[in-house]
């Protein structure tokens, strides 16, 4: 509790008094007084529950926050948040609020609610409550000071808890999605005896590059591949890092005795690479996948010939 006193003093020193003058309080507040004040505060908030809650919802709507939710939903959530808010002020324990914040985040994140909105509503509530305190204690500034000293740290803690809970939930979802993307892994396909193709679609980050290379190397061993065609048509951007990953993949494949042909370098990508000065001369590159496969067949000693003209018109054309 000694700690509580110190924090209260510090807060008071940092924050100018809400009234016209700052009133020093010799020897106060003592911890017991803080607890008493908080109790008083809680009963005040309980008494004015419906009015303050409505005020809060009104200002939330006014500020155009939580637009993804209906009015009733906002009201229901507001009630729950208000009650946990008061409970935190009363008990000093944020565990229940943490759980509620997680649960709330889980429900509203899929609906596109943003961090700014969640932080916004909590700060609004803090503001609404603080205003009601101003109103109630405006006649006695020294008491108001003490009430705010008791209220502010707790309110900050609550805002913090909710924001952190929300962000953590978001991060969890992002991690989950990354996992999902990773599992949509790139297939290593054998198109001919000893010829593999690796079509890469999407962004190549270091982690993915690593996974791709490992997969390809295992594929080379399993299929005893001599030639690999890596098609990067579906890679949106190739910069120095990505080019470097490609070079590594090619080198590693070569160590396992396979020749790599990279295909699908669009004219834009080729221009970018030349501009930023990436040297791909050590790599065999061919414009499109078809050309790559033809070259690979040539390397493997295949010759593809058309034995006869198709007699029926091809259905697709």
């Amino acid at each position: 509790m000694a700690d509580g006193t110190k924090r209260d003093k510090r807060t008071r020193n940092l924050r100018p008094g809400p009234g016209e003058s700052f009133m020093p309080l010799p020897g106060l507040p003592i911890p017991e007084a803080t607890a008493v004040l908080l109790r008083e505060l809680v009963s005040h908030l309980r008494q004015n529950r419906s009015q303050l809650r409505e005020e809060w919802v009104r200002r939330t709507t006014e500020a155009k926050l939580l637009t993804a939710m209906t009015k009733e939903e906002i009201f229901n959530e507001a009630t729950a948040v208000y009650d946990s808010y008061v409970a935190v002020l009363e008990t000093g324990s944020v565990e229940a609020l943490e759980a509620y914040a997680r649960d709330l985040s889980e429900r509203i994140i899929p609906r596109g609610v943003e961090t700014r909105e969640v932080v916004g509503i909590v700060l609004l509530l803090r503001d609404v409550l603080a205003r009601s305190l101003f109103k109630k204690y405006q006649t006695d500034l020294s008491l108001l000071n003490r009430v705010l000293d008791a209220y502010e740290p707790a309110a900050n803690r609550i805002a913090n808890t909710v924001a952190v809970g929300f962000v953590q939930e978001r991060e969890r979802i992002i991690r989950q999605q990354q996992e999902a993307i990773r599992e949509l892994s790139t297939p290593v396909l054998q198109v001919r005896e000893r010829l593999l193709i690796l079509p890469i679609i999407g962004v190549i980050d270091p982690q993915r590059a690593r996974q791709l290379t490992e997969q390809l190397l295992r594929g080379i061993r399993a299929n005893r591949a001599k030639v690999v065609v890596i098609d990067i048509t579906g890679v949106p951007a190739v910069d120095a890092t990505v080019a470097n990953h490609l070079v590594q993949t090619v080198d590693a494949s070569r160590l396992m005795g396979a020749t790599v042909i990279v295909t699908g370098l669009s004219s834009e990508i080729a221009q970018t690479l030349v501009t930023i000065g990436v040297d791909l001369t050590k790599m065999k590159t061919i414009g499109d996948l078809q050309g790559g496969i033809e070259e690979a067949e040539r390397l493997l000693g295949y010759r593809v010939t058309m034995v006869m003209q198709p007699t029926e018109p091809l259905a697709a054309k």
Binding site: E214, L255, M256
Partner: protein, 126 residues
């Protein structure tokens, strides 16, 4: 333990059986250099299938083996580099330079067959 070097026709096959110390690597280099001359071999295969680690010294020694053998008239192929080893090597920036590599012993023999038929020139694949 000395690495056994098998003679197979005009080729030498050094089949590494366990992880090698630096000293054993140098011994392998010297043994191969001597035997390439003694058997007038046209090709050397170093099988590294069992190695699950390749440090810079090993890579440098393998390169040295290839260069020495080349000077004495033999082509060298390193065979059996494991996927994990290959990946670690490129990550560490260890390269075998112009030394030929193949998936396994069979591939290596086929590659040597091809190279020596072409007259033993060492001009790479491209």
């Amino acid at each position: 333990m000395r690495v056994p070097i098998l003679k197979q026709g005009s080729y030498l096959i050094a089949s590494i059986q366990s992880a090698l110390s630096d000293y054993e690597l140098l011994q392998l280099r010297d043994d191969l250099a001597a035997q390439v001359g003694r058997f007038r071999s046209r090709g050397v295969i170093v099988d590294v299938t069992v190695l699950d680690v390749m440090d810079s010294f090993a890579v440098r020694t393998l390169r040295a083996i290839a260069q020495i053998a080349h000077m004495r008239g033999a082509e060298t192929v390193i065979v059996g580099i494991q996927p994990e080893v290959a990946f670690a090597m490129v990550q560490l920036g260890l390269t075998l330079g112009d030394v030929e590599t193949s998936l396994d012993l069979e591939e290596g023999l086929a590659l040597l067959e091809l190279r020596t038929k072409q007259g033993g020139s060492h001009d790479g694949q491209s």
